[in-house]
Symmetry: C2
């Protein structure tokens, strides 16, 4: 892909970094699936040691990276390599090792404390840790440098080049439109705030058979993919030939595990369809969290929650879950698409979900911008939830303590979830030019959809920046119109 | 454990090496248990990259290691650190990276070819690879240096300081005694060459419950230990708080999976009982394969195959495997202890097992000493099997092609299996001074046995060399008398 010796050398020097990432992914996957609980300490130690090696190895790229900047006439692959290497180098040259180490140590401790705080619904336990984390993240932003708002430096770590201006431009019309949709739904005669099936218990073995059928419908491969069980569903890519998802079985409301499987399969399909020539290079991944999330959301919402997919899955549901026979396909569709204000983000529907994100985004901006103290956050959170979603948490476990992200230092991450929804809307809109998507789903013929995504998005890996890729593949950038239009059509007609 | 700054620095510098070993162990465990099959190539790539980093990191120890050699008045811990570091450095400074790389590449390919050769029972497929491996291992021995026989250099990689003279001194009386025992057994009136239970099928779920009960009896911990399924049973130690075993369910002859579990638990208990102050140092492991194997053999044969353990397990067997009710405890004991000539090493009983090892040891010596050509090996093997065990393989899959070791470059490894048996005999003999072992097993009171092993052997990790540890803990070194006496008492009285 490159005949340039400097680029070749960079790719060579990157190999051990790839291998260390591979190890880190396996560490994480193992930690969440099979690792004995008391192994956490030694695993953390190993992770820290490998992270130090990683840092050294990235810094080894410095010389060739500055040589590469002076090169002319590069192709897209070569430019992509340089872009990614410069981003990695920026982080490790600007953020001092002591700060990285402090962040790692603090967040490792904080994750344990957060778990306990959530369990006891006690913010005071977590408060000193969150204060420290906010402080450290502000320092990180200062070291990285930013324009306009320190939060921009943090968001950039997850979504290249994203600013609060960009996000505001997306969220402001999105919120207006979604509030309208929600109030129309709530005031309709057929509005329901819950569904009987949410309380119906299922057997885990039967549910596993349903999920296997979901994997079969989506055409997930046998030899490069697997599914396990973990507390929180996630996707882990060890390599382009080793992508693994997890799901969980909560024992009731069977849609949760099904949609988590479809969601994670969306992530997995992305990684499995990246061009193999990008393996072992810095480009063997999606370009950002927002783009990656667009794929999981596209499959979960635009495919999985469609009437056609519901019908396609219905016989499998009836066969394995006897209680489903009491419900028509139409009723299952309603159960899959119940829109109503709720408190928990991960269980939210595709309309109100974005309100949960906006609340987090506003709170994070205030914290990092110094406009709010950590101690004020629970109250701000509750007020905003009431304002945006229309419900007020009765305790902190279903309020400000519900998400793991802050304890892990992932501030600036949340907005990418809604950007994923927005980009999924753009994907769905663009795909319709080439494919009759609903028809394909109805026939269970999923491969043309996968092929379209591969050709337009997946195969490019991280060659293009998130903006470039959106422009190239979807003809637009972070435009919420398509999502709004889709939701209006789905819920208001 | 050390107040010496040079030793401290060595231990510090060793940390990333520990982490890389941790990653390598997890790679291996994952490969054998859950990894999707087509991920082998990228896993191999990652392994190779981490091995290169590992080599660099070991070489970083050079300067402090030579400083440390000049230190006086060191304690055992400090001496142990230096001994282990010198061994690692010796390997990486004497064996050139190209040879290491060639060995890795050749054995990776050879493992695939061997699998196919065994399947087809066709030596000619494997022959060119074995030739190359023998050549490379001879070169490795030359680079490492040796006295008397190049095979000594190779054995030393698995069992510190072991020579063919030592092994001959063990095997020669052992073979004489075992031949006598076997012929006495074969000529006895009650001799049986097989047992009905070898053909009885079991259900996997029921068998898993039995194995869980075995784990409970042995007191395997919940939070630092786990058991999975793989093609070949093995133990993998990620850290002193993360030790995992595997077993396999072949569907018939239920003793196989039970004894593989007990065997691997013997390895696992060793690693779990190493003193935690040795974690993250070069001493957080047993000192050699022979010593490690002594623990697995002690538990498998001296505990597991005892009459008392059989009785202890009998109710569990009857409860979960209905067909067991047709057999008395005495009959199960006979089934557990059937001694007769067989062709497959891994299924051999505790008497004839050692013949299998002697055959491999003699063949390896001839190959590495240049006294036999690779092409002559199948015939030599068959002749020796007939001579030692008294049976002649009818095909190569049950003959010279049965073991994975040579394809992986592990020449010099086999003797440690029988040394393990020999040392297990020494352990059992010595333990009787302090404990009434049979009585404890009969009562299911296993913890005093574990405690004894911890205090005398496990907790020291690799502080002492294999010889030092044997002398210190068992008062003797590689002495086969105790094993012979145990087998004579068990099978001839």
């Amino acid at each position: 892909m490159s005949k340039n010796p400097v680029i070749d050398q960079i790719v060579d020097t990157y190999r051990p970094i790839w291998a260390l990432n591979h190890a880190a992914s396996l560490f994480e996957w193992d930690l969440e699936t099979y690792m004995p609980v008391d192994a956490a300490k030694s695993r953390g130690f190993a992770q820290g040691q490998l992270a130090l090696i990683q840092q050294q190895k990235v810094l080894n790229l410095t010389e060739n990276a500055s040589k590469a900047e002076k090169l002319d006439g590069l192709n897209d692959y070569e430019k992509g390599i340089i872009r990614k290497i410069k981003r990695a180098l920026k982080y490790y040259t600007k953020v001092p090792p002591e700060l990285v180490e402090k962040l790692t140590r603090t967040t490792t401790e904080a994750s344990v404390v957060w778990r306990e705080a959530r369990k006891r619904s006690d913010f005071s336990l977590f408060e000193p840790y969150l204060e420290k984390i906010v402080q450290l993240k502000r320092k990180e932003a200062d070291k990285l440098g930013y324009e306009a708002h320190p939060y921009n430096a943090l968001m950039d770590l997850f979504e290249e080049d994203l600013t609060t201006r960009d996000v505001d431009k997306v969220f402001s019309p999105l919120v207006t439109a979604l509030k309208k949709i929600l109030s129309r739904i709530e005031s309709s005669k057929s509005f329901r705030s819950n569904h009987k099936l949410e309380d119906v218990a299922y057997g885990e073995e039967a549910m596993k058979r349903v999920n296997q059928e979901v994997l079969r419908i989506l055409g997930m491969p046998d030899k490069t993919f697997r599914m396990d069980v973990s507390t929180h569903p996630f996707t882990s890519s060890m390599s382009l030939d080793d992508v693994r998802i997890t799901t969980r079985y909560e024992g009731k409301s069977f849609r949760e595990t099904i949609f988590s499987v479809i969601h994670e399969c969306g992530h997995a399909l992305y990684d499995l369809q990246i061009d193999h020539s990008l393996e072992y290079t810095p480009l063997g991944d999606g370009p950002s969290l927002g783009i990656h999330e667009s794929q999981s959301r596209f499959w979960e919402n635009f495919v999985g929650r469609s009437r056609e997919f519901t019908n396609l899955l219905y016989p499998t549901l009836k066969k394995n879950l006897p209680f489903v026979s009491e419900y028509s396909e139409g009723e299952i569709y309603k159960y899959f698409n119940l829109v109503r204000p709720t408190l928990i983000r991960v269980a939210a529907d595709e309309v109100t979900y974005n309100f949960h994100i906006v609340v987090r985004y506003e709170v994070e901006k205030k914290l990092i911008g110094g406009e709010a103290k950590v101690s004020e956050i629970p109250e701000i959170w509750d007020d905003m939830m009431e304002d945006y979603v229309g419900v007020r948490p009765q305790n902190l476990a279903e309020g400000v303590l519900q998400d793991v992200h802050w304890s892990g230092g992932m501030i600036g991450y949340f907005p990418t979830y809604s950007l994923g929804n927005v980009i999924a809307g753009m994907v769905s809109n663009r795909m319709k030019r080439d494919l009759n998507v609903q028809d394909l789903i109805a026939r269970g013929d999923i491969s043309p959809i996968k092929l379209w995504l591969r050709e337009n998005i997946h195969k490019w890996g991280a060659i293009y920046s998130p903006r470039e890729l959106q422009k190239k593949a979807l003809g637009d950038v972070y435009n919420p119109e398509y999502l709004v239009k889709y939701l209006e059509e789905k819920y208001l007609t």
